[in-house]
């Protein structure tokens, strides 16, 4: 999911809405067919995202080593004494 692409959450929410509208009935044949086609397209998009998914892992700067850690600790002691 890169920026600009519609998020999984958004696509999934749209799929749920589409399915709910179809379930509710009260639709003309044209509306029903349009919704169904939309739903099928959403399902395909969601499946594509799920099949490609691979966990990415990133580590923030390690503060456990080096002088910065000590510096930051001092800062935090100071802040912690505040309000």
């Amino acid at each position: 999911m890169n920026a600009g692409e519609t998020s999984f959450e958004e696509l999934y929410a749209r799929l749920e809405q589409t399915a709910a509208k179809l379930e509710q009935g009260n639709l003309t044949l044209e509306e029903a067919l349009r919704l169904y086609e939309e739903g099928v397209a959403l399902v395909a998009q969601l499946r594509a995202i799920l099949s490609k998914a691979e966990l990415r892992v990133r580590q923030l700067h390690d503060r456990l080593a080096g002088d910065e850690t000590v510096l930051r600790e001092a800062e935090f002691d100071y802040e912690a004494d505040g309000p």
């Binding site: 589409t18 179809l22 379930e23 739903g39 399902v43 990133r58 923030l60 503060r63 456990l64």
Partner: protein, 392 residues
């Protein structure tokens, strides 16, 4: 030299005492004596040891149910002031615990009560992690079992996510500043959906950092929901109480803030099936409607024919009735005409009769001999004309 009023002196001493931070938030230990509860519900007593004594009060709103016993040794948390009316040193308590529970436990309970009163644990402020988190922050040791468990579970369960590790010591002297720094780093990560604070079990139950007020406040102030998975078996830590979601282990923490990808696959398949069957139902509904309309049309067709033949039949009846009526009328007219003809005066004249009328005066038929005298002139009409005659 000028003399100081007593009240000025006492007020001055009071302000000196209250300005001292060391006397503002402290724990003392001593034995209870002279315990009494006032009508208003305040509890007055003294705390003493071998060498000294201090007057204490526990006001009505602090631990309203607590009762103390004379002779009991207690830890008391509070601040030092002066009771001006008596010029007496006074310790205002807000928390009291028997010495038997230990100072650490008493301190923890006081902190828990205080944060609870402040609303840090309120259920109403617990935030729910998003359904499909995209970026999951983790604060834990980079070398511990917790991060391995989290990564493994996440890889199987919700690989759509990105895991952002903010490394920190989770025990020992540096744990608190480390954890605070890691939380702050993580709070700056753009698009973070949820944060997990984790600690992998281990032999020691060193949870001190997670009972620290600064950590509690950092979790409370964290910009997105925080899930704790601290791998401990005893009572919940302050961090657990303030977190939005609490799980017993790091793996469980992942489960509490992610969907299971297999369930998501299954749900998508179910929604797909449901949509297909719902659409099919609507098509079937319209087909039924068309078929129904066709049936109704067909059902109506024979009735139209019957109606047409009934109309034709009725038309024939009417025509016959009219003809019959006409014939009847015609013969009646003919009979009347015959009768009329019989009454025609000309028919009488044709049989040899004549109509006699006087010519003078008013022309009128002569029906009596008294109507005429000699010399009267008359008209005599017969069947084919008239002629003049004179009476003699």
């Amino acid at each position: 030299m000028q003399a100081l009023p007593v009240s000025a002196l006492v007020a001055f001493v009071k302000s000196v005492l209250e300005a001292n931070d060391a006397l503002w938030d402290l724990w003392i230990v001593g034995e209870v004596s002279n315990y009494s509860r006032s009508r208003l519900g305040h509890r007055y007593f003294t705390l003493k040891d071998e060498n000294a004594v201090i007057a204490c009060v526990l006001f009505r709103n602090d631990m309203p149910d607590a009762e103390l016993r004379n002779g009991e040794r207690v830890f008391a948390h509070g601040r030092v002031t002066v009771f001006e009316g008596r010029g007496q040193l006074q310790f205002i308590c807000d928390f009291v615990r028997p010495e038997g529970v230990g100072l650490e436990a008493a301190r923890l309970e006081e902190l828990r009560r205080r944060l609870e009163r402040e609303g840090l644990f309120d259920a109403s402020r617990k935030r729910r992690p998003p359904r499909f988190p995209r970026r999951i922050g983790v604060v834990t040791s980079p070398t511990g079992a917790a991060i391995r468990d989290i990564e493994r579970v996440l890889r199987h369960r919700w690989p759509l996510a990105e895991l952002v590790l903010a490394p920190a010591f989770v025990q020992g002297d540096r744990a608190v500043p480390n954890l605070l720094a890691a939380l702050q780093d993580l709070a700056g990560v753009e698009g973070l959906d949820v944060a997990i604070v984790a600690r992998g079990g281990g032999a020691t139950e060193d949870l001190a950092a997670f009972n620290d007020e600064r950590i509690a406040r950092a979790i409370y102030a964290f910009p997105v929901p925080v899930v704790t998975g601290l791998g401990h078996e005893r009572d919940q830590t302050i961090a657990d109480l303030v977190a939005d979601v609490t799980a017993p282990t790091p793996s469980a923490a992942v489960e509490r803030c992610t969907p299971d990808v297999r369930e998501v696959w299954a749900t998508i398949a179910r929604l797909e099936r449901a949509m297909r069957s719902d659409a099919a139902q609507i098509i079937a509904r319209d087909l039924r409607a068309v078929r129904h309309a066709a049936d109704r049309l067909r059902a109506r067709a024979p009735r139209l024919e019957a109606l047409a033949s009934a109309v034709a039949h009725r038309a024939r009846d009417l025509r016959e009735q009219i003809q019959e009526r006409c014939a009847r009328e015609r013969s009646a007219v003919e009979a009347a005409a015959a009768r009329l003809e019989a009454m025609d005066p000309r028919a009488v004249l044709r049989r040899g009769y004549a109509v006699v009328e006087r010519v003078d005066g008013r022309r009128r038929p002569v029906t009596s001999v008294r109507h005429v005298r000699g010399g009267d002139r008359l008209t005599v009409s017969v069947s084919d004309g008239a002629f003049w005659a004179e009476v003699r």
